[in-house]
Amino acid sequence: MQARSIVITRRHLGQLGSVLLGLGAVVALTAFIWSLSFNEFVAAGLIIGGLGAALWAAMTPQEFKAFFTGRQVQRSTSAIFTTLLLVAIVTVFYIIVQRAVIVSDLTIDRRFTLTEQTLELLRVVERSPRPLRILGFYRPQDLLQREIDDAYWQLYEAASNGAITRQYVDPIREPGIAAPFSQALAANYYVFVGFVNPDGTLDLSTVTPVSNQATQERSMTEAIARVLAGGSFKVYFEQGLQTLDALSNSQQGMSILNNNLRANGIVTDALRLSDLAQAGQTIPRDASALIIARPQREMTDAELAVVREYVERGGALFIAADFFPTSDVFLNASSPFNAYLWETFGLRMTDAVVVDTRSPGPSALHVVSAQVVTENVLTAGLNQPNDPSTATMFHMARAIEVNPQPPVPNGTVIFSSEQSWGETDTRAIVERNEFIADPDADLRGPLSLVAFAENPATRARIVLVGDGEFLTNGYTSAQSQFYATGNATLFMNSIGWLTGFSQQVTFAPRAFMTTPVLFSGGQQLDVIAFITLFLMPGSMLAIAGFIYWRRYRAA
C-alpha cells in the first residue's frame, strides 16, 4: 500500500510537463516585456518551457497532440492573435497620424493656428543652415502641462518641416543637461530655444529662454526670432560723457536695461566718443545703435564730428537728455549738437522743465505719459487700459521742440497732459521748488516728451527723450518706489526700432476675446438655477416615475 502511493504514472509526468510549459512561457514573456531584451530570465523561461513541452509530448503524446490541435486552443489563440494584430494596426495608424500633425483649431480667436508672421519666420528657419531645437524641462508631475505645451510646439515642428525639433528633459533625471539652465529654471523659465550643433548637441551660446506667458505663440515666435537674430545686432553705450553706467547695478546705474538687451540676443558694448575723437577713429562699423543715456556735459566739437560721421552713414541714436542746473548741460538751447539735430532731424531740446500738476505720479515734476501715439512700434505695450503701471514715468523732464516742417519725417510719440506746461524759470524749481504757470514765458502743454525722426535716404534714425532718469535701475527695478514698467518697454521698443531688430523679432500682439459673463441680476441667476437644477432633472424623474407607473403598476 505504501509503495503504491509513490508510483508516478506517465500521466502525472505529462501533467507536470504541461504545467512547466505554461510556467516557462509566462516567465519568459514577463521578463521580455519587462526589459524588452533577451536576458537570462527570458532564456531560463524558454528552457523550462521547452523541457516541459518535451516531457509532456514524451509522456502523453495523444493528449499533447489533442491539446494543440484542439478547437479551444486554436480558437482562443486566433482570437488573442487577431486582437493583438488589431491593436498593432491601430497603434501603427495612430503613430502615422501623430507624425502627420493634423490639427484643426476651433477657438474663435484662432489660438492654435500659427499666424502668417510666425509662418514667415519659420520659412527663414527652414532656410537656415543650422536647425533649431526647442528644449523643455518638465518634471514627471508636469506631464499634463507638457502635453498642453507640446500641442503648441508640435505646430512649430510641423510648420518648419522639421527644421525645428522638440526635446523634453526631466531635470531631475538628467541634471547634467539641466545644469547650465539652473538660473533660468529657478526664475521659472522652463522652455528654451537654440541652434543645434552639427554633433546634435544644443549650442548653449545661442540659447534663449521662452517666456512662459499664456500667449504662447508670441513667446515662442519672439524667442525663435531672437535666436535667429542672435549676435547680429550690437549696440554701444556712450560712457565718456558722464553718462549712466551700463554695468552698475546701483540705483543710478542702468544694468537692468543692459541685461534686458542681452537677454534678447542683442550684443552690448561700451565706447567713449572722446577716445575715438582723440584717436581719429570712427564709431565701429558693427554698431546698430549708439545709446547716449543722461550725459552730464556738453559734447565737444571733435566728439560731435564723430557722431555726425556716424549719422551720415545711416547710424541710429538713442539720446536721453536730462535737465541739470548747470551751464554746460547737454543739448542746451545754444549747443552746436542741438543745432545739428534741428537741421538734420527737425528736433531740438528746450531748457524748459515739464510740470504737470495733474500727474498721478508722486509729484508735479514726475511726468507720466499722458498721451501716447498708438499704432507705433515705439509705444507698443504702453499705457495699456486698466494697467497704470504700463505708463512711462519721467522726472524733471525737458520738453522737445518738433519742427512742423521737418527736413525728414519726424514726430512725437509721447505727450504730457493738457494741464502741463514747460517751466522756463528752472532756477525757481531748483532753488525754491516753486513752479507757477506763466502764460507768457512758459511753454504751453501738451508738450512733446519723446520724439523720433528717420532719414529715408540714409536710414539714419533717432529717438530723443527729454529725460534720462527713467533709464536708471531706480525707475526700472520692480523693487523701486518709482517703478513703471512702461520705462523699460519704451527703451526696448526704441532700441528695437533703431536697430531694426524689432522688425525682425517682434510679434504683433494678438487680441484675445475675453468676454466675461455679463452681470445678470440675482433673480436671473435664480431662474437659471431653478431650470437647470430642478426643472430638468425633475422632468427626467417624472418620466421615470410615469414609465414605472405605466409599466409595473397599471397593467
Binding site: 482562443s76 506631464l143 466675461p516
Partner: protein, 241 residues
Amino acid sequence: MTGTPIIFRRELAAYFTSPVAYLIAAAFLVFTAITFNQDLAFAITVRPVDPALIPRVLTQLLIFIAPLLTMRLLAEENREGTLELLLTAPVSDASIVIGKYLAAWVYYTFLLALTLVYQIILVNIAFPDMSHTLGAYIGIWLYGGATLAVGLVFSALTESQVLAAFLGMIALLILYFADRIGQIVANIDLGLIIFQLTLQGHFIPTFAQGVIRAEDIVYYAGLIVVMLFVSIRLVESRRWR
C-alpha cells in the same frame, strides 16, 4: 450585419422605456447643473466661462455613468437566457454587439444633447466661444463612445450586471488618471507612453482647449474598434469554449 439595425432599435427602445435610464439621466443632469451654476456664479463679471466646462466635467462623470449604461447590454441577456436565442438566431455576433453598442452611444448622445440647454443659457447672457464648445463636445462625444465600448467589454465578460459595472468603473478609472501618472511613474518616457494610453490625455490638452487633433480622434476610434472587437470575440467564444 443585417441584424444590427433590428438589435439597435430594440436596445434603443429598451433605453427609452426603462425608468432606470431616466434616473441615470436625472443624476447626469444634477451633476452637470451643479458644476454649471457654480462656474456661472464665479464667472459673472469676472472672467469668461470655460467653453469646455461641461465636457470637462463629463470626463469624470462618464467613468461612472458609462458602465451603468452598458452593464445591462450583454450581462442581462446572458443571465436571463435571451442570449441563447440571440446566438441561435441567424445574425452574426458582430451585428449583435455593434447594434447594442450603437444603441448605448445614441442614448448617451441624447444625454449629451440635454446639456446643450446650458449652452443656450450661456448664449443669452454672454458671448461664449461656440466653436470651441463645439470642439469640446465632439471630443466628449468620442470620449463617451470609448468609455461605453470599455463598459461593453465587461458586460460581455460576466453574467452579473453589478460586477460588469464595477469592473468597468475600475478599468475606466485606470484609463482615466492621466494627470496623476507623473506622480506615480518616475520615468517620464514610460509616463508619456502611459499618458498616451489614457482617456484624459487625449482630451484635456486638445479638445478641452478647442483644438481637434487627428491623433486624438484615432485614439478614441481605435479604442472603440478594439473594445468592440474584444467584446465580439468574447461573445463568440461561447461557440467554441
